[in-house]
C-alpha cells in the first residue's frame, strides 16, 4: 500500500464510483440482492483492491497474496464489482449475478470463482475463518508480512460466534489480522440500535484485546492511514470501525434500512416508482450530482 496523493485519491474516487455503477446495474439485472451495504462499502473496496491488498488478479492463487475474507457475504456485489474492475474477470460477467450457472453466486462460494478466499453468507463465521488463516500463517511464518483482512457487517456482531472468534484473536495476539467493520447502523429489521444495541463497540473490542480505530468510512485517506497503522500494531489484532452512510452514493437510498436487503427496482414501495428510482439512481451515480464525469462517456 502507498500514501495517497491528491491524484490517487481522485482516481480511487472514480474507481469507487465505477464500482457503485456496477453494483446498481448488477442488482437491477439480478432483480434481487442487497443494496445498502455494497454501496456504502464501495470506497473501502476501491481502496483495498486498488491500493492496499498485495495481490495479483492474474494469479489468484499466488501464495504470497494477502487474504481478504468477506464475512458479511450478503454484500458480495461490492466484492464482485471490485474484483472485476481490478481485473479478476470481465466486468461484463457482473451481469450474471445470481443467475443459473453463474460464478457469481448470490452469496460468495469459494469453489465457484478464483480469487474468493471463503464461502460466506451465514453471518458470523467469516471472522473465525480469518482467525484460522492468521493462526496458520503465523505457524509457518512468525514474522509474516502477509495480512488477513476481514470485512464484517455491524449487525453481524449480534452473532455469538463473532465474539468467540474475537476472543481467540485476542488470545492469540494476531497482529496479522485486520478487521474492518461496516458500521452503517442498519440491519434488515431496522436500525442496529433498535434491533440489538452494539455500543460501545470500541470498548467491547478493546476489552477483547483489539487495537481499535474509528474512521469515516468514506474518507479514503483516513481509512488508508488507519490500515497503515493497523499493519504496524504488534501483539494484538486490529479492528477499524468504519462509520459509513448506509447505501452511500444514492441519496434516496441513504440511511434507510429498507434498502438493506432490496435491490433497486424492487423496493419496499411501489415497484414502478422503484424502477424509476433505479434509473435515476444510476444517473445520479454516474455524475455524482454532476461532479464526476463517468469513465465510459
Amino acid at each position: 500500500m502507498q500514501y495517497l496523493s491528491e491524484e490517487k485519491v481522485v482516481h480511487l474516487e472514480k474507481v469507487a464510483n465505477d464500482i457503485r455503477v456496477s453494483i446498481i446495474e448488477m442488482l437491477i439485472e439480478a432483480g434481487s440482492g442487497h443494496t445498502a451495504g455494497p454501496l456504502d462499502m464501495a470506497d473501502i473496496f476501491a481502496l483495498l483492491y486498488f491500493n492496499v491488498l498485495k495481490h495479483d488478479p492474474a494469479r489468484p492463487d499466488w501464495d504470497e497474496r494477502d487474504r481478504l475474507v468477506l464475512s458479511a457475504g450478503h454484500i458480495c456485489p461490492v466484492l464482485y464489482a471490485a474484483m472485476a474492475h481490478a481485473g479478476y474477470f470481465p466486468v461484463s460477467e457482473l451481469m450474471t449475478l445470481r443467475k443459473f450457472g453463474t460464478r457469481l453466486q448470490g452469496h460468495p462460494h469459494r469453489e465457484a470463482l478464483p480469487g474468493l478466499e471463503t464461502t460466506s453468507g451465514p453471518l458470523g463465521s467469516g471472522l473465525s475463518q480469518a482467525v484460522g488463516m492468521a493462526i496458520a500463517e503465523r505457524m509457518d511464518n512468525p514474522y509474516t508480512s502477509k495480512f488477513i483482512y476481514c470485512i464484517t457487517g455491524d449487525g453481524e456482531w449480534n452473532e455469538g460466534q463473532m465474539w468467540e472468534a474475537a476472543m481467540l484473536a485476542g488470545k492469540e495476539q494476531l497482529h496479522n489480522l485486520v478487521v474492518i467493520i461496516d458500521r452503517n447502523g442498519i440491519q434488515i429489521d431496522g436500525y442496529t440500535k433498535d434491533v440489538m444495541p452494539l455500543e460501545s463497540l470500541r470498548d467491547k473490542l478493546e476489552a477483547f484485546n483489539f487495537d481499535v480505530q474509528e474512521v469515516d468510512g468514506h474518507n479514503l485517506r483516513m481509512v488508508n492511514d488507519a490500515i497503515g497503522k493497523a499493519q504496524s500494531v504488534y501483539g494484538k489484532p486490529s479492528v477499524i470501525i468504519a462509520h459509513t452512510i448506509a447505501a452511500k452514493g444514492v441519496d434516496v437510498f441513504e440511511r434507510d434500512f429498507r434498502w438493506h436487503g432490496n435491490p433497486p427496482g424492487k423496493g419496499p414501495e411501489d415497484r414502478v416508482v422503484k424502477s424509476e428510482q433505479a434509473s435515476s439512481a444510476l444517473a445520479k451515480l454516474r455524475t455524482l450530482g454532476g461532479t464526476i464525469i463517468p469513465s465510459d462517456s
Binding site: 451465514p122 473465525s128 475463518q129 476472543m167 481467540l168
Partner: protein, 329 residues
Amino acid sequence: MFVAHLDKKITTAKVDMIPSRNGYGEGLLQAGEEQVNIVALCCDLTESTRTHLFAEAFPERFVQVGIAEQNMASVASGMAAMGKVPFIASYAMFSPGRCWEQIRTTIAYNNANVKIIGAHAGISVGPDGATHQAIEDMAIMRVVPNMIVIAPADSVETKKAVLAAAAHSGPVYIRIGREKTPVVTTNSSPFVIGKAMLCAQREERHASTVGIISTGTLLHTALVAAKTLNAAGIGVSVLHMPTIKPLDTVALDAFAADHERLVTIEEHQIVGGLGSAVCEYLAGTTPMSVTRIGINDVFGQSGEPEELLAYYGLDSDSIIDRIKQLITI
C-alpha cells in the same frame, strides 16, 4: 470381501477392553509425526478426547479454542485454506451437534480438508445423561454433501480410520466412544474408507438366514449374538460397516443376496444412520426385509452404559431375542 483377521479372544472374557478414543489419540500423534501440515484444535476437552498426546508432542501445532465449537469449525476451515490439515475434536453432541451449519457451510461446501472427531458418541456415555448422548450425529453428518462418515469398531480400527482420514483429501467425520469397549479388530484387519468387512459367516447347514450389519463399537455385540444364534440353529452372519458414507454397496449387494433378511444395529437413532442408509439403498435395488435396531425416536437418560444398552435393546441378549422373534414370525 476383506478377510477380517479378528482377535481370537473376542467372544471370551479375556477380550481387551480399551476406549476407542485412545485410538484417536494414538492415530493423531502418528499422523502428526508423518505429516507436518497436520494441526489439532480442541474445545477444552483435550485429555478427554485424547488430543493431549498430539498437543504435548506438537504444542506449536495445537490450538486451544476454548469452549466454542462453532468457532473451532470455522477456524479449522480457515487453517485448511492455508494448507493445514486440521483435526477438530469435541464431544459429538457439541461438534458436530452444535456447529452443524458451520461444518456444512465453511467445511463441507468448500470441501475443506478438515477432520471432525465426535467423541463420547452414543448412548453408552452413560451417567452424563441425554444431554451428552449424541445419537443423532451420523444423521446430521450423513446428509451433508462431501462428508465421509465413519464409526470405527474399536480403538485399533479408530487409529486406522484417523490415519486414513489424514491421507484423504476432504472432510471426514469420525465418531468415537467414551467407554472401554472390546477390541475386536487386530493390526492385521484391513481398513479402507468406504469398505465393509465380513466378520462372521453363517453356518451353511441352517435353513433360516439373517445378516447383521453393524457399525461402531456394537460390532462386538453383533458377533456375540451371531455366535449364540448359529449355535441355536439360525444362520447368522455379521457385516461390519465402519463407513456409513459412502456406503459399500458392492459388499451390501453380496450380503443381501446371501441372507433371507437383514438386521442393522447401531448406537444411534434408527432414523438417519446406518439402518436408513442400508434401507435407502436396498429400496432402490433389491427390496427385502430389513429390521433396524437402534434408539427408537426417544432421548436417552442417565445410567451405567451396560444398563442403558440393555434398556434400549442394544445388548447381545436383546438382539438375540429380537432376531429369534423375527424368525418365528
